[in-house]
Amino acid sequence: MCRIGIDVGSTYTKYCVMDESGAIVDLLSERTPIRQKEYFSAKQEKLSQRYGDACIVSCGYGKRNVPGFKNINELTALARGVFYSEPESDVVLDIGGQDTKVILQSDGQLKRFFLNDRCAAGSGAFLANTAALLETEFEKIDLTDAKCPKTRLSSVCAVFAQSEIVELIAENTPAEEIIKAVIWQILVQAKALLGKIGSSSVLLSGGLTRIPGIGQYAQRALECECRVPENGNFLSAIGCALCAADQM
């Protein structure tokens, strides 16, 4: 029986399929649907047809809509997934669609965590909305060799930041520069969270890890060593699959 971990994020749902030996068979990602209960019921059927019987554990925003064995907290899942993929990394900065979080894990156990209690200008949704406004595809964002942005946003509130961006557009600021400024702002806002854990080295996780060059860029913004794991977007899904294995 295989193990399937499902991380239902606000924007994307990530799947991790593991075989009985605990090896990752597949990592999949799709946009999170609107009618989640219906969708995931049908999805379970499809997964079963493709991979056979499976034990499913879910986490994330819409975890309760997934018919599975159980659902767990995404930070707990993240801790497990990080330990599996990057056991040397204890401090993790996860920039999700709705939240930014920092966790400390030890041997796959969640030890400490902090959530961004400031506005949504510190999360991935802000970047997604900005990209949409600029008609820029997320997949085309590339920060390879990017220097610090010339433009800086001053607002920590999504509402005010949005109007700053509208003004930048009106001033013919290049879209690429605005995107860089938004990502910089998201990272800088995460600094306060990192300060509470106090680490000189951090593992990045979440959707932003798909952006080429994000590691170096984050290093400049956060002023600490930043590593980007191979499957940075799937760590919580991997953690869920591992929890599924525990149950079997």
Binding site: S154, S155, F160, E164, E167, K191, A192, G195, K196, G198
Partner: protein, 382 residues
């Protein structure tokens, strides 16, 4: 004359900072040390030969030295919310890292806080008390809304109790004649300062001088030389050219921006001239009364932020009228909601700007610029 003003300021500053770690270099203070909030009856402490320090003032110095950001971050890392007063965040970061442009103040033997300015300061003093494990004395000033006789009795009893406790701490006995003389010094300092502040509308001076030099009224008001310092300053100002009439007279309603070289948004106010400020009137305490205790009650119970809104409105309107200002820059200070509400009913056009007096990153300068431009258009159109 300029030289002697400078010499006097240097002497007062040297005296004030001599026990800070940068200068003390491990030497312990000779006297007992109190950390006080901005409106504590320091005449009592001075009379008992107790040194007193103002953490809020030091936060201003830190910001002025461009050193506040790492300390604010440190404070947040220590779980003090960044939504709290930036004076406290800045100082907590300074104490945690033991870093500051003048080092750190000498360790307190006692902490004294009052609520005649806001309710946040005594709360902050509670966390200082936990840090240093020293006694905390909170002086409760009921304010203008409470019956005067009742308030006077309550406050006077607290002052007497403070004296008794400070006598025990210092090992000195309070000499009533000394206390009276110190109160008289404060009265003279206030009287001279008022004359200095009154120069702002009429002379070509920047409010920067007032924002910076009111610090002596805060930290040294009952010292004999402060009145003389202000008298000399006023004489010097009166030698300066009269203020031109080519700029728009504006009232600066709120705190100085300690991180700014000019202490106000000078780059956005080139077409304006600041002719008045409420901040520079806050320490012009009224020491009227029959005896020392009544004078202290009058001065410290009726501080500006302890008055009713009605009285504050009246005072503010008078200040604005006397300044000749036709508009105001009103600061929504992230660190002080009590001050902002003073600006509710001032009946002149205002540019309301979100700022923080310590954290330079808080202000959206583009937005502030737009607000001020709109203000200018309104005034010019009118």
């Amino acid at each position: 004359m300029a030289q002697s003003i400078l010499q006097m300021k240097s002497r007062l500053l040297r005296e004030y900072y001599k026990d800070f770690s940068k200068y003390a270099k491990g030497r312990l203070p000779e006297k007992k040390v109190a950390w006080v909030t901005a409106f504590v009856p320091v005449e009592i402490l001075e009379a008992l030969d107790i040194s007193y320090y103002y953490p809020e003032s030091y936060a201003a110095v830190i910001a002025a030295s461009n050193a506040e950001q790492p300390l604010l971050s440190e404070s947040e890392a220590q779980f003090l919310s960044c939504d709290c007063c930036s004076y406290s965040c800045c100082i907590e970061g300074c104490l945690e890292q033991e870093k500051g442009p003048r080092g750190v103040p000498p360790k307190p033997d006692v902490l004294i806080a009052t609520n005649n300015q806001c309710n946040t300061l005594p709360t902050w003093w509670n966390i200082l008390a936990e840090r240093y494990q020293v006694p905390l004395i909170v002086l409760d000033y009921p304010g203008e809304a409470v019956d005067r006789a009742l308030a006077c009795e309550y406050v006077t009893k607290q002052h007497r109790e403070l004296i008794a406790r400070m006598e025990k701490l210092s090992g000195n006995q309070l000499d009533p004649a000394v206390l009276s003389e110190l109160i008289a010094n404060s009265e003279r300092s206030v009287a001279e300062w008022k004359k200095v502040a009154a120069c702002l509308p009429g002379y070509e001076i920047k409010p920067t001088i007032l924002f910076d030099d009111i610090s002596f009224l805060i930290t040294s008001r009952c010292k004999a030389e402060t009145a003389e310092l202000y008298r000399l300053m006023r004489e010097e100002i009166e030698q300066m050219p009269a203020a031109g009439k080519d700029k728009i007279p504006v009232f600066w309603l709120g705190y100085p921006l300690w991180y700014h070289a000019d202490r106000f948004l000078s780059e956005l106010l080139e077409d304006f001239r600041i002719t008045g400020s409420n901040y520079v009137t806050w320490w012009s305490l009224d020491y009227s009364g029959e005896d020392a205790f009544e004078k202290l009650f009058q001065a410290y119970n009726y501080t500006f932020l302890n008055l009713t809104q009605e009285t504050r409105n009246k005072i503010l309107m008078e200040l604005i009228q006397n300044s000749g200002a036709v508009c105001a820059v009103t600061l929504h200070n992230k660190s002080c909601k009590c001050d902002f509400v003073s600006a509710k009913n001032i009946s002149i056009p205002q540019a309301e700007i979100e700022i923080d007096m310590i954290d330079r990153t808080f202000t959206d300068m583009e937005k502030a610029g737009r607000q001020i431009n709109i203000l200018k258009e309104v005034i010019c159109a009118g």
